[in-house]
């Protein structure tokens, strides 16, 4: 891919400062949301205080279903326009999606043990979420294994699209196969005492996810600029001061 693809995307100080400010905003919003949710919600009739786990498990699950669509969007954009930035954004989103999917699985296990009596069951929702996690790990492994840039971008875009196809299966799994995991809740089915905590934490997790994707993309831009600069230096064609 032509080096010019990155020439218009150098990381500049003002953008970095804005990102840092957004990071602080997301952090403060997350801490406040968790404190408010824990403080104002009474123990659930059946679950007791274990219900408080849902303020991290449910938003994490939502983000792990949202992030693969970001991967899908930038993967399609890459295949259409062949811009390296879209490939890097898809990769950053996939890494964050992997982190949230893994977190969702672990939090589900921590919630499942005291409520269901088991850490793990081959339930439809848990299994389909595990499949999603493994697809995302496969996506990241593929990127680590393929050196040729265009081929890596194309292959990972294909895996990214496949991974997004799995998301509706994860979402609908609790309706298609009525196993252990309960069906989706909505504000109509959740006690109002818990809705505000869930909403606040959903937005907090969304802000954190956006921050992570943007920060990882910034790091990827720098990594790529360093790679280009090294190639230029090796070929003796340097002098462009990439990324400065």
């Amino acid at each position: 891919m032509a080096h010019a693809a990155l020439s218009s995307t150098t990381v500049t100080a003002p953008r970095t400062n804005r990102l840092a400010m957004f990071g602080w905003f997301a952090f403060v919003f997350l801490v406040a949301s968790q404190i408010i949710a824990i403080a104002i919600s009474p123990p659930d009739r059946d679950m007791g205080d274990l219900q408080k786990i849902l303020y991290v498990h449910v938003p994490s699950a939502w983000m792990s279903m949202l992030a693969p669509f970001t991967v899908l969007y930038f993967s399609l954009l890459y295949l259409w326009k062949k811009r390296e930035e879209d490939d890097l954004l898809a990769a950053a989103s996939a890494e964050v999606a992997t982190a949230f999917s893994g977190l969702t699985l672990v939090l589900g296990m921590i919630w499942g043990k005291p409520t269901w009596g088991v850490w793990w069951a081959w339930d439809a929702r848990m299994t389909s979420m595990l499949v999603q996690f493994l697809i995302l790990v496969g996506y990241l492994s593929l990127r680590a294994l393929v050196d040729e840039r265009d081929r890596r971008a194309q292959w990972s875009a294909a895996v990214g699209i496949l991974g997004a196809i799995n998301v509706p299966i994860v979402y609908m799994s609790v309706r298609w196969w009525r196993t252990l995991h309960q069906i989706q809740s909505s504000p109509a089915t959740v006690d109002p005492a818990y809705v505000i905590g869930l909403r606040l934490n959903a937005f907090a997790f969304l802000f954190v996810m956006i921050y992570f994707i943007r920060a990882r993309y910034g790091a990827a831009l720098l990594e790529r600029a360093a790679e280009h600069a090294l190639q230029d230096a090796a070929l003796g064609t340097g002098g462009s001061n990439h990324g400065s």
Binding site: P43, G48, L50, V208, F212, R216, L222
Partner: protein
């Protein structure tokens, strides 16, 4: 809060924050590493 419930709730929040902090550190390290490499190439020390 019951002691056993407190244990599971605390574990859940600890895991969530471990992921947030861990991923943040991972991104910061990747950024610093790339910036250091870029600086050394641009300054000519790796040419």
């Amino acid at each position: 809060m019951e002691a056993s419930n407190l244990l599971f709730v605390s574990a859940a929040y600890a895991v969530a924050w471990a992921m947030f902090i861990g991923y943040f550190v991972h991104v910061r390290r990747a950024t610093s590493r790339a910036r250091a490499l870029l600086d050394s190439v641009n300054s000519g020390s790796l040419r």
